[in-house]
Subunit: 565 residues, 2 copies
């Protein structure tokens, strides 16, 4: 067994890039699934591939989105020649508006559907981006970077891979990719093109790692159609199908089955309505005239003549599907005998929420079909068998696994090595680790700081680790606040202490013992002649903290406020 | 397709139980996975089967444990004849001490290993329970309840099913069960015994639903040994195997492989050390003399002569394994080439935590073997194929699926119906729904209230939905507090307002605009002659809430404190 070399991770910034070299650094997306953003540097100029968002985990409460960390390039925005987008998923385009805020004239390169989704997103941010539309087979030149585009197959139409030629060598970045050999739109991943690049000599290959741990091959998307057909044919009442709002081919299969069984279709969810409108306008989604109805019309139709296509497949609590599962949807009440299909995967971390929705629907009597009991979803990312095809076509000198957590990166590295890539030339470089391609060899040269940049409401970056740490403490134990006014000159309390707790106990008497405790402590501080409000507050915090630990064995935040009057 | 009938769920308490009838109500464990507790009532007396805990989910922050809701029986504790424990897992025995607090003399019936684990738990609660040890084939009589015990196979030794005979009929409760036909200890689930009960006529069959959605059969536990052997044979450095601390047979297989490959074993984790000590004392775990070493000794041994068996397989952040994954364990530093085996399932909800541990270990260079890439775990619960064997042996008149969420209960109900049980006689009765067995028919007769009873620190029940709801708000958005002292007679502010926020922003200037805003509002309330501190506080809350929503689009808790001086 050849072994992956786990490189040591330097903690220092890299030295200046060698003359003629190419520098690569991920500001997001390596060591995590999401916020993909890779920066290429050559001859003093920068090229960015993708600029997406990451969705927060449990230990990042209240956060809406996580952005790539732009600090490494914030003083070099004018050096950026272009952003190339490989496809239109949020984890590849979602942070573009935040970068454009600082450099609105930056050219954004992508395929037609990708740019249409980006333009819609930018409109919400009141931005008008400079768009450069490309399609497979085309080249664009951005400063010292020559870019060539290749068709790839993924779970969204119009995805591309990008080959970047510089004087330092040829780099191929897959973006998100799989090798479905029976794609619904007939648009195959361009393996022949990759082979041609391999003949030319690929110096560095950046490869999607998401499914590197999964053996074999992803089932063709096309096999989902017959399963949906079987489920919907049997249904005698309403059918609701939930899936990702950008999965045009999945929706196409749903629409085809609806037509076949005489059901009209209502789309539910703002992003579903918007994206399918764009897809239909671009000719990517075929919608027979009169198929679509709105929800109100759908509710007037006989139950066996309607089908809803909905968002909410990840158990998002405010989604229409979650509201149906709780029996709280304004228009659609689930009844015994209704059919609900979750034609989607579960994004890790969403399991509890999705199962909650499934249980809620079952409890109301619905038949719930999901990937656990029927083949109603396939992944959009190449499994191990497909990755081997890629490595054998490209025959790269150096490999850099991208898009994935550590376990995915390492599994991908092992696949590369198994096809003959030298283990020394497989570089696992998580976010911020700088890789230099010089004289045909990729080497780790240093590290730049890449942290989490949180979006919470309207503001970017002001919520950081200290705020999150406070939220976690408050979320676990609530707080107890003690407010007292003291005479500035003597430190004598002029009011009885006001005690209140939130998130601590339902028992209204839970804190009754605190008042005399604090009064005693205030008498003590007064007797000792302590007048400094900060010291008085510290003393109060100490006695209350000790009391709550001993009495309840809990750790609420203790917040003393001492007001000098 | 015969369809499960989802019964309507009544909201009213049941009428008095019909003369000679048997009443069944779950105070936990139906509609959820955990805190199993079923109460049987006959001739004015009660029998309790199991009394376990449930572990909290994300929306129950700060909670340590969730207990069954005892309210339905709290006024009838003296009517309880006994509590029968089917096996020693926490979700079946963990809440016993909380019941014994109120009725210390209650006889607790169970098999040897189950009672040994319970006794250890009770010692921590400073309780000395009245134990009645039974084994398969035996009968015990508790008031009007005649109990007969049957061997069943599960992921812990010494599990039993219980048949309860009363004048209302014969009930069989499986507890947790599977039908491993090659059990390591040779103790098969007593299918012949169940068949004999079937011949006698089982009026009501309560059946483990956990794996009812899983087709086929669970792989025998025995097949894990060779996989572990292969993994450990190849290891050239340290090996760490994490598994559940009560899975004696799994640990036995690990020890056997360790012996074979000349490795000595150190146990890590308090519960692992305690449970394996008990198992060894009872002869359930065979430990060759000199095999066990403590951690300090283990650290002195050559790296290829040691194996650690550890808790922490669920990614618990304070466990030894999580600390190793973060590089923070005091003694054991993971190095490139070490092998870590997670010989366990992932309890739903723990996925993110477990993957975090796996990624941390991989990042440090460890080879991580888990159920996703090797057959190092099998479930302890019967899959659909095994449940069919049970239904065909028992041929019950009435069926009540237990132990599971709604999707599991319904799948189990469908299996019962497929073997010929009348759909009308399959009763899905979630927690609190009362089922009466009268004249051989099981019917839902009403509902008692069953809520979540939270243990947080030393206290039981004082943390309720209102506290949790506050914790969720605080955890998402933190708080902003505004404290001001006003002259009682005039409502005039005598100090500038003190503003502070926690969990709101890392920016020290984030709340600078609040002071003048509050001062303006206080001038207004004073001008309007408002002196009531409650009304002043409301006014302050309103302006600050509006400001933060408009400025930040966030919803922190706003806490005004107005002190009259």
């Amino acid at each position: 067994m050849t072994d992956v070399i786990i490189p040591t991770r330097p903690s220092t910034p890299p030295p200046p890039l060698a003359e003629g070299g190419l520098r690569i650094v991920a500001l997001g997306g390596i060591g995590e699934v999401g916020r993909n953003m890779t920066v290429f540097e050559h001859q003093g100029k920068l090229l960015v591939v993708d600029c997406g968002v990451l969705f927060p985990e449990d230990n990042q409460p209240g956060v809406d989105l996580i952005l790539p960390d732009f600090r490494a390039i914030e003083n070099r925005l004018d050096d950026i020649e272009a952003i190339v987008l490989t496809h239109g998923h949020e984890d590849h385009i979602g942070a573009v508006p935040f970068l454009l805020r600082n450099r609105p004239d930056l050219p954004v390169v992508g395929s037609r559907f990708t740019l249409a989704l980006l333009a819609a997103k930018c409109r919400e941010h009141r931005l008008t981006p400079v768009l450069v539309e490309v399609s497979e087979g085309q080249h664009t030149q951005h400063g010292p970077f020559d870019c060539e585009y290749f068709a790839v197959n993924h779970s969204i139409p119009d995805a591309i891979a990008v080959a970047i030629r510089t004087s330092a060598g040829l780099v191929l970045h897959t973006g998100d990719i799989k090798l479905d050999q029976l794609p619904l739109d007939g648009r195959l991943t361009d393996l022949a093109g990759f082979h041609r690049l391999g003949d030319e000599g690929v110096d560095l290959f950046l490869v999607d790692s998401t499914n590197a741990e999964v053996p074999g091959f992803v089932t063709p998307e096309r096999e989902i159609g017959p399963v949906l057909d079987q489920v919907i044919r049997r249904a005698t009442q309403r059918v609701i199908v939930a899936c990702f709002a950008s999965h045009v081919h999945r929706v196409q299969q749903i629409l085809d089955v609806a037509v076949k069984h005489g059901r009209r279709v209502a789309l539910i969810g703002r992003s579903m309505v918007r994206n399918m409108g764009i897809a239909a306008d671009l000719g990517l989604l075929q919608v027979p005239a009169g198929l679509f109805v709105d929800i109100d019309e759908a509710m007037q139709l006989p139950e066996d003549e309607v089908l809803f296509v909905s968002t909410g497949s990840q158990g998002e609590p405010l989604s229409a599907l979650s509201r149906m599962a709780r029996g709280e949807h304004r228009q659609i009440s689930i009844r015994s005998g209704d059919t609900v299909v979750l034609a989607s995967s579960m994004i890790p971390g969403n399991e509890t929420a999705v199962f909650g929705v499934v249980n809620g629907l079952v409890r109301l009597g619905a038949h719930v079909v999901h990937k656990g009991n029927a083949k109603v979803h396939v992944s959009g990312h190449a499994a191990a068998g497909e990755l081997l095809f890629l490595y054998n076509a490209v025959r790269p000198s150096n490999v850099m696994p991208v898009h994935g957590e550590w376990k995915h990166l390492r599994a991908n590295a092992e696949l590369a090595i198994s096809t003959g890539v030298n283990a020394q030339q497989v570089v696992i470089a998580e976010d911020g680790v700088v890789v230099d391609l010089v004289d045909g060899k990729a080497r780790i040269s240093g590290r730049v700081e890449v942290g989490h940049v949180y979006v919470d409401g309207l503001s970017v970056g002001d919520v950081g680790e200290s705020t999150l740490s406070d939220r976690l403490v408050l979320g676990e134990g609530g707080f107890i606040s003690i407010t007292v006014a003291v005479e500035s000159s003597t430190g004598r309390a002029v009011t009885p202490p006001t005690i209140s707790g939130r998130g601590f106990s339902d028992d209204p008497k839970a804190l009754d013992q605190v008042v005399p405790l604090v009064e005693m402590e205030l008498s003590r501080t007064e007797a000792e002649g302590i007048t400094d409000t900060h010291r008085i507050a510290q003393a109060v915090r100490r006695v209350v903290g000790r009391w709550v630990a001993e009495t309840y064995r809990r750790r609420p935040m203790i917040i003393p406020t001492v007001i000098p009057v």
